[in-house]
Symmetry: C2
Subunit: 364 residues, 2 copies
């Protein structure tokens, strides 16, 4: 392999795939990225055997070929290089020489033959959507992904591509976030649980206005953008019946300014010292009173003017869960639907029908 | 105590002292700040028994008094408050009520009687200098403070106020940084080792164009600015004879662009995998060749055009030490004085006579 590529394009490409490489690997070659050149591009591929991604970078190719080198070292080097042409050449024994301006590197590599295959055969059908929609759907659900590794099926986001809708659901057993958008056209039926690592990487690489293609096969999630493809092994397991979890007709309905509620929650939660940061909400038709207290430190209280239709009610929530759920909403007014002190609350936007977050209450 | 103060001024004041409070304390009251009001200000004081600081914040005082409350909680609360008036009132049992806009807090405090004394009797004489000069002197030496707790006398910066000069020196045994400024007037003779924590806090609180007064007494360093005072217990112990460490007449003299040298050092050091990041410098009259290598990863090389008068020479340095020493220089051209592969190198500015950093070489 012998290619010349632009340093800035090289850096951008590397940054799209290098986070997939895990700091500790079972196989030495998983610490490396695969560099391959064809007629007009150099492809950079990274994998941890669960999630893999490949980016194609325009290149002037003098000789086709392939090699693998340390992802971390290559990233560190390219980050320090000046904005100039980078010449890469594979020498004997899977070594790579890299030249840019006055700097010369010789990198010890590993044979490309041992690099595990990453990207699957093309899926039967793709669903196209814009990057903004995909990013919003992920942002409105990813915070609720479980970190409990024993609940394997909850360690990702359930993607449901059905009818005309793209729907995503995540839950950690204490809260469940659901977000849905209609694409305005039939998209067939595909479903699968996409692991957290792939979700994080997708959110990182999604550009501003690009169109994205996604697909779910029997065992893989695949995402495709111009010059980029990512594949992730789906989580096997049974996702909870989320439709049964979302309350349909809570009688109590609180409408409050998102900004005011967030600020008050943050102020009051300062005095909630426990790990779960419990905050108590006392509701009457015209007001919401937030309180929190800690034996050692003291207490906090704040009242907000709100619209509330429903019975007077006192209910406790993990304030972080409330803040996560509200922060996923962009509109000015939010809705909190309630039934009683023991039933879950439902956070929604006043306008956006496609999002809700169900949160279990706490005893306070 | 009963006062009203502006939230933004309260936050700024707290941030000037609260870092002094250690996360873990031997005495519970050291987790607190002391709040005291006199006629027109509220003073906030923090201490860890080694370093203490006090800030005075303009206040409308309805009743004089004092109390202590958790520094961490107060900081978190004030950070979340809106930009509005904050009303503080000490209630019974060293409790504090705090109100701001719609938020109300009750903070459990501790008696001010148990708060350790912080600021000493006024020193006999002060040295005035501008904040910019003090910050530069600290920035040009603080990086060389030793982190080895067994070498207690090296865990700070030696301040020497003598003749017309303010001089600072720090060393960790592998390198020594010295910076000196003439104040243009006699300032008597004071000397003392100021501990690292005080150095960090001084650099944090130094404003833009303020005048600063400093003093060294038998056992304390004191810094005074408008509405602010900090006192630190001096480190007892013998500081090395730094004048004997600084080579006076090295025959080799390298002049190189600071920016080019920094960039090349960073690029080459990527391939220096050991903890000390050794980089080899090969000098001939017209060129400097930098190299680094690692058994597992490969090697890097870069040549720079330089001016060098002296014998041809190959010498190794910890690249981080070189980068620290060079980064402390603001001028475009730097000087590296050398004798042979076993003698320390001296980094200086071409123009600034007041700064140098002596660095021990490494075998490479």
């Amino acid at each position: 392999m012998e290619v010349v590529i632009d340093r800035d394009a090289f850096l951008r490409g590397l940054q799209m795939v290098q986070n997939i490489v895990e700091p500790r690997q079972t196989l030495p070659i998983l610490a490396n990225v695969l560099l391959e050149s064809d007629a007009e591009t150099m492809r950079v591929t990274a994998t941890d055997l669960e999630v893999g991604a490949r980016v194609a970078i325009p290149a002037t190719v003098a000789a086709k070929g392939a090699v693998t080198v340390s992802a971390r070292k290559l990233g560190e080097i390219v980050k320090e290089l000046p904005a100039a042409a980078v010449a890469l050449k594979v020498t004997d024994n899977a070594s790579v020489s890299l030249r840019c301006a006055g700097a010369t590197y010789k990198l010890v590599g590993l044979s490309p033959d041992d690099f595990p295959p990453v990207v699957p055969a093309s899926p039967a059908s793709w669903v196209g959507l814009d990057a903004k929609t995909l990013r919003e759907l992920l942002a409105q659900t990813s915070f609720a992904i479980s970190h409990d590794e024993t609940r394997y099926a909850l360690n990702g986001i359930l993607f449901v591509l059905q009818g005309k809708d793209v729907q995503m659901v995540a839950t950690d057993g204490h809260r469940l976030a659901m977000s849905k958008r209609s694409l305005g056209r039939g998209i067939g039926g595909m479903t699968g649980i996409v692991p957290r690592k792939a979700v994080i990487e997708i959110m990182r690489v999604l550009g501003a206005g690009e169109d994205v293609q996604i697909a779910i096969t029997d065992n893989q999630f695949v995402l495709q953008m111009p010059n980029f493809v990512m594949a992730a092994r789906l989580i096997e397991g049974q996702f909870p019946n989320y439709e049964a979890v979302i309350p349909k007709a809570h009688p109590g309905r609180l409408i409050v300014s998102r900004a005011a509620f967030v600020a008050a929650l943050r102020r009051v939660a300062v005095m909630a010292e426990e790990r779960n940061k419990p905050v108590k909400l006392a509701l009457t038709p015209a007001s919401l009173r937030l309180t929190a207290s800690s034996q050692d430190l003291g207490e906090a209280e704040e009242a907000l003017e709100v619209q509330y239709s429903g019975d007077e009610l006192v209910i406790g929530f993990n304030s972080r869960y409330l803040l996560d759920a509200i922060s996923a909403i962009e509109q000015d007014q939010i809705v909190l639907e309630l039934k009683d002190a023991l039933s879950p609350g439902v956070v929604k936007s006043v306008e956006d029908e496609g999002y809700c977050c169900v949160i279990m209450p706490m005893r306070v």
